[in-house]
Every structure is written in structure tokens, then in C-alpha cells.
Amino acid sequence: MKCTLRENRLIFRCIVASALAAVPAAGVRAQVSVPQSYVIPPADLACILTGNRVDLQCLIANDPDFKRIRAEEAGLFNEALAAARSNTLDPFHQIETLGKLEIFDPRLSVNSNLACSFCHDPAAGYGNGASILSVFTGGANPGSVPITVHGAYPNNRMAKRNPQSYVYSPYFPPLQYNPTQGDFYGGNFWDGRATGYRLMNSAAEQAQDPPVDPEEMANPDTACVVWKLSTGSYKAFFEQVWGRGTLDIAWPGNVATICSTPKGAASLGGSATPLALSSIDRTRANQAFDEFGQAIAAYEISPAVSAFTSKFDLFLSGNGTLTAAEARGYDLFRGKAQCNTCHLDGRSNTGGSGAADTGAATNVAPMFTDFTYNNLGLPRNPVLPWYSENTPDQWGFTGNPLGIGFTDTGVGLFLGGYYGPPPNLSWGQLEPYFEGKFQTSTLRDTAKVPYPNFVKAFMHNGYLHSLKEVVHFYNTRDLYAQNVPSGQCRVGTIEKVTCWPRPEDPNNMNMVIGHLKLTDAEENDIVAFLGTLNDGFVSATPTARPAIQRKPTTPPPS
């Protein structure tokens, strides 16, 4: 293992050489870099293949993070099921609990082996929860469908991006183009394609996508999700929330066969609705699928996920203080570093002009995003298995026919028709202005990790592995720019330290960032401040409030 001391003396970077020993001749090769603190778990060592690839089936069976996530998942599902069966929940908590059941229910995937929470680990801020994936797959997670074609890499269908956290996602408004600002606001997903236009709820529509994404939960028909709900342990609770008879649908005799066939299978003939339902039952199934998504959004907006209990929230309330480093970081965040140009913090702004900050909170629930989209100029992350998914799996499905030739243009994919025409056809003409852009994520809970030394994947492609790297990238992207592919920085420079390879898509690259002239200590202060945005600093349980002195009521006339 070759390690290089980073020039600022804070971060070591190691090149995992063990897996480079014998590189096969064909296919995508990627150099893997990890923080020095990371040690490949012994249980995973046998899962590391040549060429820095990983045996997904081996990891699914052995990786300690995967085991932790599944244990948490089972515990939270059972907790929700007990609450649902308690008959003590008011309507408000019923729908939240239903969403919780759905999110932690692996039955809702085609092979009944993958819950939403597998890729959205609560302990990791509802993003990727497996260090091994952050390092070797850019945080991209395996889906429900193993790939059994001999010699195929990856040996499991894999999502094409690092899963985006869904904390506070219901606070993102439905996607709209603002003609006065010439900008898009709102939506869910890295590329905004969960517009929310139909349900007027972006998070609910986002929740409807992974269950039928062939790379993720892979159900072949949205009605298959409804069928599983109608045969599951909380069917009665679903109908308690949405109405008796909601799931009364006449299912065809082959429902079990169809619903265990992964989406994209050649045998389905390309149909998005292979389940043969009457028009009335199809309408009912569509409605129940909408309700499925709405319940998930209800859980996501609940205090269990979007809590407003961070140290910064306490500070905003005037009841908490920041440490010296956090306070310096906050001043930089809204000053020299200009982070709050996009990550709105709800506070008055000193603007670096010396103007007095009144300290008054203009918004006591800031989202730390302006809901827009930007191209940060991130280099391609060649470890994403997506680039290798260019041959048919045993079902005849090819996830990425372009292979390494695929360029992730973010909103450009959405507006350009990659997923089909955008719902507002006039948006298509805006594609040149939004190519390469990805959603400005909230910074809330971005620093949350399940345990010390956990390696988190940041950004849509998981290219960055720590908040220090993120801030350093914003600070020096253009200072250390090299016109080289990822993994091929010139001799004498260190990738992610003194070298940033060329962007995957150079068009529309945001120029607020790139040369912020921050010192190493200032970068560290900003990282310290970001840590104050983790929820859980204060209790989410309503606390005692001051007693209210009520006027004595006038006794009624006798």
C-alpha cells in the first residue's frame, strides 16, 4: 500500500495497491483512492477483485456495513409494524408510520431483497451506508437483481449514481422554471426529474421511481408494488390510512410470475404495464401507487427524518452557541467562501463588506439549498460500475449500452429526453443551459456518519470522500486544474490534493467556486461548521414550554 502525505499535513491518501497486482486486459480500469484511516474490513478482502473491482454478491453476503444496515432496517420495520398494530396512532402519525413501513420493507423489490433504506441508510444521513461502496463503486449501490452471466462485471445490477439523501426532500417544491430568473427551482433527484407536477409533491414522485428502476428495485410494473402491498403484513393498515377497499384489485393468475420478473427482461417485451388489469383495476392500482409515494413523503418530512434538531437550529433559536472553529467556519460560509450563495442559511449576510450582521434569523428553518442546479465541474468517477454495464445480463437487459462513453449530464439527461420527453415539452429547449447541472443538495445531515472513520461518498458520482475533500475541491478546482482524465494526474501532483482532473462535462460550469483562496485552516473551519448541521443535537421530542397564565373564566350565571 502506497501512502502519500498530503501537503497540508492533515490528510493522507493511499493508493490501494493490493488490488492492482494483476489487472485483467480488458474493460474499465480505475484507480481507487481512500483516506488513510480506512481499512478494508477483513470480511471484504475476498470480495476485492483485480482491477479494483468488487464482487457484489460477496459483499452483499459479508460486508459488515451491509449487515448493519439490514439489522437496522429490520428493527425499524418491526418498530413501525408494532406501532401500526397498536391502534394508538392519530391520523397524522398513521401516514408517517405507513411510509416508514414502506421504506424499510425489502419485499417491495422484485426479488424481495432490497428496501429503499438499503441505499438510504439513516445512520449515514439517509445516503449510501457502506464504506466499501464509497471507495470502490462511487457510493453506487447494488439493486435487487444479481447478474449471473459468467465473467460479467458488475455481477449485480447497479445504480448509475451515488444515492442522494432524502432528508428534507419534501421541502423541495415541485419543479418549476422561473422565466424571470431564467432558472429551475425545486424537484427531487440529482437531475430534478421527479418534478412533482402530477401529485404536486416532488418527494412522493421521487419515491415512485426506484421501485420500478431496473437498476434498483426492478419491479416490472408499478402495479406489482401495489400487489405486494395488498399481500403484505400491513395491508390493513394501508387501507386504514387510505380507505377500505383501496387494495381490492382483481389480480391476474400470473401476477406472481410477472412480478418476480425484473424490469427490462426481454420476456416482458418492453411493456411498462405487463400485468393485465381491467381499466378500473389499473386506475385503482395507479391511485394506490400514488398513495404509496405520498406516505413515503409523509415519513420523509416527519421529525424522524427531517428533524430541525441540529446544533445550528439551536443556535438560530438563540439558545445555543457555536465553538470558535464553527463560528469562524460559519463566517466563511456566508462570507469569503460564498457557500450561502446557493446553500441558503436563512441569516442576514455580512457579504464580506464589513456591513453589520444583525444576527436576526430571517428564516428559522433554512434548507441550506436554493433548490437550483449547478455544474460543479466534477471529474468523472471511473470506479462507477455503471460504465461497465454495457452488455446484456441474463434477462437480456443492458443498463448502459454506451459503457464508458456515457456522460452524465444531469439535468441535461432529463431535459434532453434520456428518460423520455420532459413533462413540460417547452423545457426541452433549455437543455443547453442546464447540461451538466445537478441539484444543489441540502447540507443538513451531510456530515452524518454511522461511526468514526466511515468513508462517505459525496456528490452525484461519489468522486469525493470527505467534507474536507469537498471544501478543498470548491476552493482549488481551478487552481489545480489539469487537462487529464481521472487517475492520470501528472507526476509530482496528487489527485484531489494538488490536481483536479478535467470535468466530466465542462459546459455550464459554475464559476462562483474553483478559486476561493481559502487557507487550509479556513477549509477546516468550514468543515467544522458543516458538522453543526447534523440533526440529533437536541431532542426531537417536544419539550416543556412555559406555563401559560390563563385568565380565570367568568362563572356562568346561576
Partner: protein, 145 residues
Amino acid sequence: MRSRHLILPLAAACFVPAAVYFALSRPPAPPAISSFAGPERIVEPPELESATDTTAFIRWTATSVSGTRERYGIVHYGTAPDQLTLSARSPTRWNSAFPTMVFRVHLHGLQPATRYYYTVESRQAVGEPDQLDSPVGRFITAPSP
């Protein structure tokens, strides 16, 4: 404006009173927003921030910034000062708390060891270009490594 000039003779020929014509053809008045402070003014002239063999960053600072939050810096460039036939545009975002705004434009696909000339302008995300008085600058890319 162009269509007005084209239509005016026709309107006069049709004996439409000029006042009526202009009332009909005038574009809607922009909303009266006091923060639209007028044209930008360059306070730090365009300069080369850095360059490699194939890329360059041009930056300048403007004041009296107003308008849409997303804005574009645009560099017109070429290998002769009177032939700035190429252009590059980079979006940036205006933070209204700052009295000035730094525009930076990323040029890529340049030739190594080549002298380039350039001028700059800026645009809002929608609407008219900002009025800048940009000098012609020049820079040389690095030789191939």
C-alpha cells in the same frame, strides 16, 4: 426595435396615426424595481487568472450588479485581435450581499503555446446583455507538457 423599423413605413402608409402605432407596438414596460441599478461597470479589468496548455480562466470584477441571480460571463476570443470569432460562457451566481461580483470564464479546447486575444461581456440568465466597456486582452497558453 428591428420589427418596429420594418413596420413603421407600412403603418404610415396605412395612415395609422403614429401615436396609436407606438402605443400598440411598444413592448411592455419593465416592472419598476428600484434594485435595477443600471449597467454594470468593470472595477477590476479582465485578466488571465491561470492557463494550461489547453485551458484558461479569465476573470474580472464588476459593480452595480443587478438582475437575475444566475448570470453569464462571456469571453470572445481568437488568435488575432480583430478576429475574436470564438466565445466561451460560464454561469455564475450573484450573491446580493456583495457589492461587487467576480466573473470568471472557463475557456477549454485551446491550442498549446498560442497567443489569444479576448474581450468580455456579461449577460443575465434572461434579457438583454449587460453593457460593459471591455478592453482587448491577451494571453499565451502553456506549451504541451
